[in-house]
Symmetry: C2
Subunit: 388 residues, 2 copies
């Protein structure tokens, strides 16, 4: 793919795009940043300019006129598309889908014990409308068969590491080919051309699956008998039990992350907010999301450590059907402040999804050395001013 | 359906079958019983004679020569089959699937606060091979269309309450019609004719979905725009937050249970077992299961309240593919007993499924007034004999 990318080892970050100063930067090279938490819960669709960015490698320079998408692999005819050919040949579809980094809320685990990875807060997640063509249509057209020998679909991308290895990941073939799986090859995000940081010119959206599999800058789609051999499939995105250590972890026994567990977080009030107890209630807002298209049944909020729960009102996109809720739930609840209570007050939330899975209470029990998939209860502390 | 059932109000339990004396009976009329826990983890397939029985109503008397299955409803042609016609017309399929009562492990919640329902321990669950025809084949043959106005498939059954209302429940049409959903109309259980307590002559197996939807003695299959109007769909099998009370619960705001959350329990040692610490290790065994076809990634066991975890070895059926693991996982781990430890020792387990959902620690946080879907960590206490 020399024709579509150009970078020297000296200048691998020469192609980084301009970015909003509002983004909360976690690392510059590669660029990683999250949405300001205070803005995250304000709108159902996260604006492109402040959508979290999770880049594993430098942003590739793309000459869109020379760009090619190649389809091939086990039991699949080799087909090559220009971007225009892909757009012209297949029906366009739009979905509302949330994308969440597998490292979202990692700081809740690093507070327990040191972990490896970027220090994501609660905002390595966002929701957009995504427009593109169905991966299913492209694969079926190339002769791909869910009952054949291929079991995984690999995406190879234009972003490359120092040794020239391209970012690559895979998803199960059933998800790729399912009429209900919702997987799209997208060229628009919230009705605008896909920004460079989000995969221009072509990204795969694998709804209900961790961000890492929603590969950006996709240039090859390959049917395979086994998962991608890449570091990002075989090692980087695997969860171990809390007692496993990186030095001795057996990656071959661990499963690569696909669907994410039920999740929720409080976006308002911010931790440390001073609340006037004379106001009698505190308005608590946040998001909830579950993987695999599972809807959110309920979000409960507690200010007494789980003794009593307050049920939140939910704002949800219309689900496309059973296990096809690809977008998050925003929620809000007014909680009465007990009369006379002063000092620090902990507010915690937890969601229940349509499979009745719920979040574990404590970060220490989901702790893993990579700090992945923290879905323990999210807690914020507010200060109740003393009465006078 | 007068031709297929006969019972007078005086004698509604006249048709109860003979049952194994090994069953652990929870109620006689209607009959409800679980497998002895000590036998549950011994075999991957639970023998028919000791498979848990969850009957909502008397076992119906069935004249199989007069039995009819009727298919109809919204957008579906009316079709009627005798049992022989159904067996002869459609290809036979067999799946290995676990069925779990939504009330399994209720005693863990009644220990927190009183709940309504049968006092199920850990053994209202079992695994069998089930042989029958695909519901999908029968529905498609009758013209049922997943993109039509019907959104749910209702099963009406031969078991009736005192007022003559038949047991009825429904499942989403996507599950009923999915190639991957695994839903079968079965007439064999573990290679033998379906026993009367398990739905003879015809039961629907809805793998990955709560037992209540795996309707027994099915006689009508009806495509509908909305869920079944029955008590068992609209009220009985809904989960509320721990602060909701039965008197004020708003059933219209709650979702009827379909897929069940990730679950596990210890089958050995039994609670109260005396363990000789000179043996150095204790062998812990159990089962794990998740709804929706999600596989079990991991089972972790702790003897120190979650400070350190011991990873169990898993015994699993070959999955039929991504999100098509319909059978439970049996697991086993030898845990070292700390030198010098005496007295009571709590052993707890928790599973992680392929969507990385895990079990909540405490029963009080999943408590609901019907005591449904308890999937908090399962704990047993053993006694370490003092050294001499
Ligand atoms: Mo990620
Ligand atoms: Mo049940």
């Amino acid at each position: 793919d020399k024709e579509t990318t150009s970078s020297s080892a000296d200048d691998v970050f020469a192609n980084e795009p301009e970015r909003s100063p509002l983004l909360n930067v976690k690392s510059q090279k590669p660029f990683n940043a999250e949405t300001p938490l205070s803005l995250l819960g304000d709108q159902f669709y996260t604006p492109n300019s402040i959508f979290f960015v999770r880049n594993h490698l430098p942003v590739p320079e793309v000459n869109v006129d020379a760009y090619k998408l190649r389809v091939g692999g086990m039991g699949v005819r080799n087909v090559t598309y220009t971007l225009r050919e892909l757009r012209d040949k297949y029906a366009h579809h739009m979905i509302s889908a949330t994308v969440q980094c597998a490292g979202n809320r990692r700081t809740g685990l690093s507070a327990v014990k040191v972990v490896r990875g970027l220090s994501w807060g609660q905002a390595a997640i966002g929701t957009a409308t995504w427009t593109g063509v169905r991966l299913r249509d492209v694969l079926l057209d190339a002769g791909c068969d869910v009952n054949g020998d291929a079991k995984h679909i690999e995406f190879e991308c234009l972003d490359k590491d120092m040794t020239g290895d391209a970012y690559a990941v895979s998803i199960p073939i059933e998800k790729a080919l399912s009429e209900d799986g919702g997987v799209l090859l997208v060229f628009e995000m919230n009705g605008k051309p896909l920004p460079p940081d989000h995969g221009y010119p072509l990204r795969v959206i694998v709804p209900g699956v961790a961000g890492a599999r929603n590969a950006k800058w996709v240039t090859k789609i390959i049917a395979k008998a086994s998962e991608s051999d890449s570091f990002w499939q075989q090692e980087d995105y695997k969860v171990f039990d809390p007692s496993s250590l990186p030095e001795t972890a057996d990656y071959s026994r661990a499963t690569s992350i696909q669907e994410t567990p039920v999740q929720s977080a409080i976006t308002e009030p911010a931790s440390g907010t001073v609340v006037d107890p004379d106001e009698e209630t505190v308005t608590v807002k946040g998001y909830a999301f579950s993987g695999g298209g599972r809807d959110i049944n309920r979000v409960d909020v507690t200010i007494d450590g789980g003794l009593t729960w307050h049920r939140a009102c939910l704002q949800q996109a219309k689900s496309e059907g059973f296990n096809k809720q690809w977008a998050w739930t925003l929620w809000e609840v007014d909680v009465d402040i007990p009369k006379g209570r002063t000092g620090s007050m902990e507010i915690a939330c937890r969601a229940v999804d349509s499979a009745n899975n719920t979040q574990p209470e404590k970060g220490e029990h989901v702790w893993n050395f990579r700090g992945l998939l923290n879905n323990s209860w999210h807690c914020v502390h507010v200060d109740l001013k003393g009465g006078d």
